[in-house]
Amino acid sequence: MALPKMVVRSKVLANELIGPLVWRLTLSAPQIAAVAKPGQFVHVRVMDSLAPLLRRPISIAEVYAAEGTISLIYRVVGQGSAIMAEAKPGSELDLMGPLGNGFSLEAERPLLVGGGIGLAPLVYLAQALCPRPVTILMGGRTKEEMYWQDIFKNLCQNIYITTDDGSLGQQGFTVDALDDILAKGNFDFVYSCGPRPMLAGVARLAKLHNVLCQVSLEDYMACGVGACLSCTCAGNDGKRRKICSDGPVFMAGEVLD
């Protein structure tokens, strides 16, 4: 009987601080690297003990299928991510996945819009969309959070930046800059991940400009496979959606106004 989903022990190859509280964890996970799609996530057991008990859902940030490696870019926000940040090269982590549904790769002229740690899944998306011309609009609080530029510079043709304090790029939120970018560009698809208010704004503007839009949602999850119903949300058709297994990527009109 073929059981396509898996739990694997994966070796930590590197775990480096790349920005304020943000780390990039590189793992040897050939089985996951071979099948993972942009937008999917892995469910990480940060240690083998009973506390912390639950897995942590973390989006897959980069995939190098030939090398059999993946990377996760994560922010230290609590107990689980703090333990992950302690993982040393050579140690092993228990990964479940890849889980969820990824982004559509149909775009010819894609625009990526990411805020904060929501930029992580867009890295693999940009990798997968190459050599198509990828434009990205990225937002953060200050220029110190814009280390993402270095990650995206070789993957994207155009990079637009907003910061809350104006220390780099346009001052304000990504949504403030998006209207102009959509008006000037000839995009056929907007992909977005970030805080929920940002996604709502992106979805509204994409609709206004008549461009298809997919968003990646997040929530607290226990199972990651659609069993526990921790992460459900209302769909616009009146039916419920499970963010883990129906998403985390949705057409914007499915879950946002």
Binding site: L3, V7, L53, Y220, A222, G226, A227, C228, L229, T232
Partner: protein, 303 residues
């Protein structure tokens, strides 16, 4: 070696999946061969669909978790037309966990769900996360008995009553539902708990309180199973924090005839099968041939 018969439900192993932790089964079918499970107890089902509670629904706690899902489910009709047919291809008993707002609703659900493909009903009279029904029936013996009687009047398939630990005397509850006609009892449901965010001074859960599960509750569950198993004649299904075969063996020794794996599924999707395999290994090492040789065999004589 592992086969058991719980109130007429024949199971290949004594390891079931606990309601609410395994979806309807197919959610885990890419990890686990469902044919290897003792039984699947499906997500709590209500007569009409429910959207569940608002706000954050889970919180991790030391060696456990709180949930306040609030019985989100697509309703009995969708279960019967969409989900049950998909489960027909598996050779595993399907037990439907049901909840009602009123005694009559439990009766209606029992009639509706007594169909081919449903091996038994588990009456959820212990959900801590809903305003009506749920635990209100599980903490008052007279109400619990009324629910059991109503269900028994409306079905001929085995009826398991899931007991709440949030009572002063769980033995009295177990005896009451046994007298009312329960064919088996399962315990424990979650323990009512709470978590507070010290940054915002707000409760972590949208519902303020929720049900605690996971290894943290195991000693409480084990104690209650032991007390109840001594007091009733019907089979006891033990659950609460089982992560390993060792945990399951404790429940069997305490008097459970079968066990259910719950929160462990979230951590290890193979947990239900791993526990069954581990029980088999344990029996072999101990030179035993049948899991029933463990049931209730704890030596609890005070010396």
């Amino acid at each position: 070696m592992l086969a058991v018969n719980i109130a007429g439900i024949k199971m290949k192993t004594p390891v079931m999946t606990a309601s609410g932790t395994f979806g309807f089964g197919p959610e885990y079918s890419e990890f686990v061969d469902l044919n290897r499970l003792g039984a699947i107890v499906v997500k709590g089902t209500t007569l009409l669909s429910r959207t569940g509670n608002f706000g954050r629904r889970i919180a991790e706690t030391p060696a456990g978790m709180l949930n306040s899902i609030g019985l989100e489910n697509p309703g009995a009709d969708e279960f019967l037309t969409m989900t049950l047919p998909k489960l027909a291809k598996y050779d595993v008993p399907i037990i439907v966990n049901i909840s009602g707002n009123t005694v009559e609703e439990y009766g209606k659900m029992a009639t509706k769900l007594s169909v081919s493909g449903v091996a038994g009903l588990e009456l959820n009279i212990s959900c801590p996360n809903v305003k009506q029904g749920g635990i209100a029936f599980g903490t008052d013996p007279a109400s619990a008995a009324a629910v059991v009687c109503e269900v028994k009047k409306n079905t001929s398939i085995p009826v398991i009553v899931k007991l709440s630990p949030n009572v002063t005397d769980i033995v009295a509850m177990a005896k009451t539902v046994e007298e009312a006609g329960a064919d088996a009892v399962s315990l424990i449901n979650t323990l009512l708990g709470m978590a507070i965010d010290t940054a915002s001074w707000r409760p972590v859960l949208g519902n303020i309180v929720g049900g605690l599960s996971g290894p943290a509750v195991k000693p409480v569950a084990l104690r209650m199973v032991w007390q109840v198993a001594k007091a009733v004649k019907v089979p006891v299904i033990g659950m609460g924090g089982i992560m390993t075969a060792q945990d399951a063996v404790e429940f069997l020794l305490a008097g459970a005839s079968a066990v259910a794996v719950g929160t462990a599924n979230f951590v290890n999707p193979y947990a239900s099968v791993d526990v069954a395999e581990g029980i088999k290994d344990y029996l072999r090492v101990r030179g035993l041939s049948d899991v029933r040789q463990l049931v209730g065999r704890v030596n609890d004589n005070i010396v």
